[in-house]
Symmetry: C2
Subunit: 405 residues, 2 copies
């Protein structure tokens, strides 16, 4: 993909009203445009990242046996009246008594009725990747807290609490895997059930300075705990020294019990022939928030540093007056499954390098008269300060090895 | 994929309030659930079709050089005030003076400002695939006319009207290709510019009895015309006899002229150094509507008949007490890139056949004791009444040939 076609409009001026790294870098690098408080447009290069994050989440949810659906944004207010959630502050209301979906228990539970009659139909679990709406009074922090944002929300139904607990642990493992694949180390924290449940829940938190929460955690064994629960200094599990940092909640999983199945009178017949309520769980990941969190965790003073798995492109070829050769290399790499962006613009080298650092593609290859005299290109990884020359003959193999590992 | 896991909840009773084939069949076959007038949930099997339709559209838009973005649903009312479209009937309004996006000229035009300064930045074109909202008083006809629906909307910016016209024709060709790949013959009809433009536009219409419009058309050369423009009986282009039928508008393309670039004061410097307004075009396809239109065009009294390109699965294996052999065949076909659904449920044969016809997967393979005695399966295409036996040894090659051609 050539930048002469795939335009990335970088901006010198960072927004000052957001006060967060992800907002500043995303806008500067032309990944998103802020439309109003907490509302963004994803530009072509930003949308590429968002799709990769979504793809990872979908793969991991499919693996645990959740089935993807797509529920509506327009939800009749009467659905929320049944669960006593019609009056919550975060809800946007619109004409014809619709509430814009901010969570979808009110849709999935009646929907699950179609599938569930007998214990033979259980367990069953659904998820969706969808735009959600919350009327945040203080939308801020870029993609970390929006009024319009993308979320993966999943819901599971079980014949017994034990079956639910087993599935809940499988989802927890999948969440660790999602965050790991997205380049993040996450910690699982026990938390309360929120406003609508007395049951427990767990948060998956990632350490970043932009976080609104604080946790104490053990880098060695992964133990973590909310500071609200009291201060401790050594890990109760492995005895290592604990650290304390700001963090962002990247995902959460909830024990919903029978609240919603009771509210919608969803019952099934168990093996004894009794008609009872299924046990329900709920599992959320802020998809656009995750994109913002990755940037909070991976950047330096020059820009973003994308993990290979979610980078908008794998390789950024900087052509210094060598567009023909750059295009040749692009084609060879692309035919090997590598995603390549070529800076073929008529710009000075300094601008090209600065933009490349800002955009943060993992591997930069410079093609110039000087490098070609040695039948080489210059190889520089975004996460490293060192550059080296690499023969064009060996380039494809090296790039494939680097990107795929 | 096994139906014991991938549950498809077919319903005996059709909805009576919609009065359209697509609504009736989609609900009966468990592809969608109606939530309220014009608002649907896509169930797992329905979402598979929706994604395939989206994929075809994205491929064809990418080919003409449009770049994908994702704009928000929450649009500030002041944007619509600039274009004098704030008061239109179809707009849903919500708290904080947001209008739910029903069209996105009000977002894309200010966004394009970031990219356009000089004639060297033109042409440039963007599209998105996104949920749209229209406060339809009479939402009906299933996916043909919803309050919440999925749309592909594209927008292009040009230095001259001539350049716009050239691109407009390229998009028109891409539209024919989209509909053809989705199994539909479309006709291009010249129409007015709608409420906000005196310029011309074109509609792409597909013949179905569920249509709200009527057109006269020539099957031979593709000429078509709205009946509003007067009655003619022989084709002015090829002299063949014209036909007259109800039709559905599946897409449209608009000449927007300079209306929106003027409204948002988006200017560029042309080759003569003059600061002028770019010329703009707009291109829509109703994505969910297209899914409904395909059903309107391809069904019989027993259910849907999906074109291979958009079918939820390629092959439906009906296991009659032969789950092990069915699973073997499933694995071999899947390893050859074929999408397979296996009916491994504990149901009687009649129910399995009826559900299979209803769901409408293009190729049905029956695996039973009788067929296995001949080392064969029974092959029946959904669009044909004939069945034949085919040796298991030859099956993979035959299936791949059938599905890929």
């Amino acid at each position: 993909m050539k930048q002469s076609f795939f335009k990335i409009q970088t901006n010198k001026d960072a927004p000052h009203d957001e006060g967060s790294i992800n907002a500043e870098l995303l806008v500067k690098a032309g990944f998103v445009k802020k439309e109003s408080a907490g509302v963004f447009t994803y530009m072509p290069i930003g949308l590429r990242v968002l799709k990769k994050v979504q793809h990872i989440i979908r793969e991991e949810m499919d693996k645990v046996g959740m089935q993807e659906v797509l529920m509506p944004t327009l939800i009749q207010k009467e659905n929320f009246e049944k669960t006593k959630r019609a009056g919550v502050d975060v809800a946007f209301e619109t004409d014809r008594n619709y509430i814009l979906g901010w969570s979808h228990e009110e849709i999935i539970t009646p929907l699950a009725k179609q599938y569930i009659n007998s214990y033979k139909n259980l367990p069953i679990a659904f998820y969706q990747v969808q735009t959600k709406f919350r009327n945040e009074p203080r939308a801020k922090s870029g993609l970390l807290r929006g009024r319009e944002f993308i979320m993966k929300d999943g819901y599971s139904f079980h014949a017994t609490k034990e079956d639910f607990q087993e599935f809940y642990e499988k989802v927890a493992e999948a969440y660790f895997e999602v965050f790991k694949r997205a380049g993040l180390r996450s910690y699982r924290i026990t938390a309360g059930g929120g406003d609508f449940s007395k049951n427990i829940s767990h948060e998956f938190s990632v350490i970043t300075q932009a976080g609104e929460d604080v946790m104490i955690y053990c880098e060695k064994c992964g133990f973590a705990q909310n500071t609200e629960l009291g201060e401790i200094t050594s890990c109760p599990k492995c005895n290592s020294t604990l650290k304390k940092d700001k963090c962002v909640e990247a995902g959460n999983i909830f024990d919903l019990g029978e609240k919603y199945t009771q509210d919608f009178d969803l019952k099934f017949t168990n093996e004894k022939g009794e008609s009872i309520y299924p046990y329900m769980g709920c599992y959320g990941i802020g998809v656009s928030r995750l994109m913002g969190t990755i940037i909070e965790a991976h950047h330096d003073e020059n820009g973003m540093i994308w993990p290979k798995t979610v980078a908008p492109f794998h390789v950024h070829i900087i052509s210094l007056d060598q567009n023909e050769k750059a295009s040749e290399i692009e084609k060879i790499l692309e035919s090997n499954g590598i995603e390549v962006l070529v800076d073929d613009r008529d710009e000075r080298a300094g601008k090209k390098f600065a933009d490349s650092d800002l955009i943060g593609i993992p591997l930069r290859l410079v093609v110039s008269k000087k490098t070609l005299e040695q039948d080489s290109v210059e190889w520089k990884e975004r996460s490293s300060d060192e550059a080296k020359m690499i023969k064009i003959d060996e380039l494809t193999e090296e790039v494939v090895n680097y990107i795929k590992n």
